[in-house]
Symmetry: C2
Subunit: 233 residues, 2 copies
């Protein structure tokens, strides 16, 4: 970072970013070669490469071998989402976390679950329904299916003390993740569980994880009315 002599890759990145912001380069425009930029700024090509890689990761520019670097013609809004363990999310908001197991039983997986996993045939799986509480009030209801073939240990866990959310995230790292967000209306059961009005609009966060090709779990996290999912800071 040597603010004096040498240029850091962040400085190079910011300088190029700024040239895009100010319109020096617009959507679709081609930027100079890394080597030329390096000479211009009198730094190493590897420094420019690092800067460009970062701009590319953030979706601002596109790089192709031999094709060079150009500002994305059709920009995308790209953001990183962090979804912590629910307990942590509650505690970080300054509230007291509570947890309550609603139901735990084996059952044949419904078609939606089988489809989420991309499996051929339906099969029995472990269904765990539980409620996360914030300061004693309902916060998130989770409706989860766990594949017992992939995680045989779950047969011996009752999930009364520790949530499946927490156990899985600590003990079952995944190699693939699918996320989807959508809205549903609270039916009478959900309204009852979440202490919400029937028909209230609820944000649902659906997560499915695999380890290699083996399905681990799929969960619908059904939030209480007013819940917001944020990115960034």
């Amino acid at each position: 970072m040597t603010s004096d002599s040498r240029l850091s890759w962040r400085e190079v990145r910011d300088r190029i970013h700024e040239q895009i912001l100010t319109g020096r380069y617009g959507p679709g425009d081609r930027l100079p070669r890394d080597a030329d930029i390096a000479e211009d700024l009198s730094c190493a090509r590897s420094t420019v490469q690092r800067a460009m890689q970062d701009l590319s990761d953030s979706g601002l520019v596109e790089r192709r071998r031999k094709g060079g670097t150009r500002v994305r013609a059709e920009p995308v809004t790209r953001a990183t989402l962090d979804i912590p363990i629910t307990r942590r999310e509650v505690e970080q908001s300054g509230a007291r976390y509570g947890y309550q197991l609603i139901r735990r039983r084996m059952a044949p997986a419904p078609r939606g679950v089988v489809a989420a996993f991309g499996l051929g045939a339906p099969r029995p799986m472990l269904r765990v329904e539980a409620l996360h509480l914030s300061d004693g009030r309902p916060y998130i209801f989770e409706d989860r299916w766990i594949c017992p073939e992939t995680s045989p240990e779950v047969q011996n866990l009752d999930f009364t003390g520790q949530s499946a959310n927490e156990w899985l995230v600590l003990n079952k790292p995944y190699s693939r993740l699918d996320l989807r967000f959508y809205a549903i209306s609270a039916n009478t059961r959900l309204a009852d569980l979440l202490e919400a009005e029937p028909g209230a609009a609820l944000l649902v966060i659906e997560r499915t994880t695999w380890i290699e090709d083996a399905p681990i779990t799929t969960v619908k996290a059904i939030t209480t009315p007013g819940y917001q999912l944020l990115t960034g800071t």
Copy 2:
């Protein structure tokens, strides 16, 4: 990637990732120093550094100078979201894109908008309401506020042909972005516009952008019932 002789940073990354997956290293555990891993795998430390950086970016591992590298004690689910221009999103689904301006006028920004921008005092802004269509049917209703101080050009644009979404994304790159997702119930006006049942649950994608500290725009993209936002592939 020379699958034969040398080890690529991706291979190094995957090998370490696998050791975490298989439980060789669990949450909170400290990994060997980069230099030792490099020696083990007989590759350069810079290659290990690259691999570790990637694992760190993906949230699996935490690195601290002198502290070393350790598996995150409280893992987070981290994912990258790409939100394209609405026109592109529709076209990519194979449907015909349509656009319809509903209203465009200057108005004092309501408190919610002022708060989203982190401004002190309310001020007049340009409000643009428009409907995006997919195969002639409502797809997303966007309710947008644009700051005319930051983008004076908008005074001369009528947004009848090109959507504000598209114009802004092509002409107003941002340096900061805030995203939030939540669910609302359709009121009668929204139900009418989106051809949905009154009270239907709708996913809202709210986006606010700045260039440096200057607010550009804030928009609520109100989706039609059944809309799902996906990550990854």
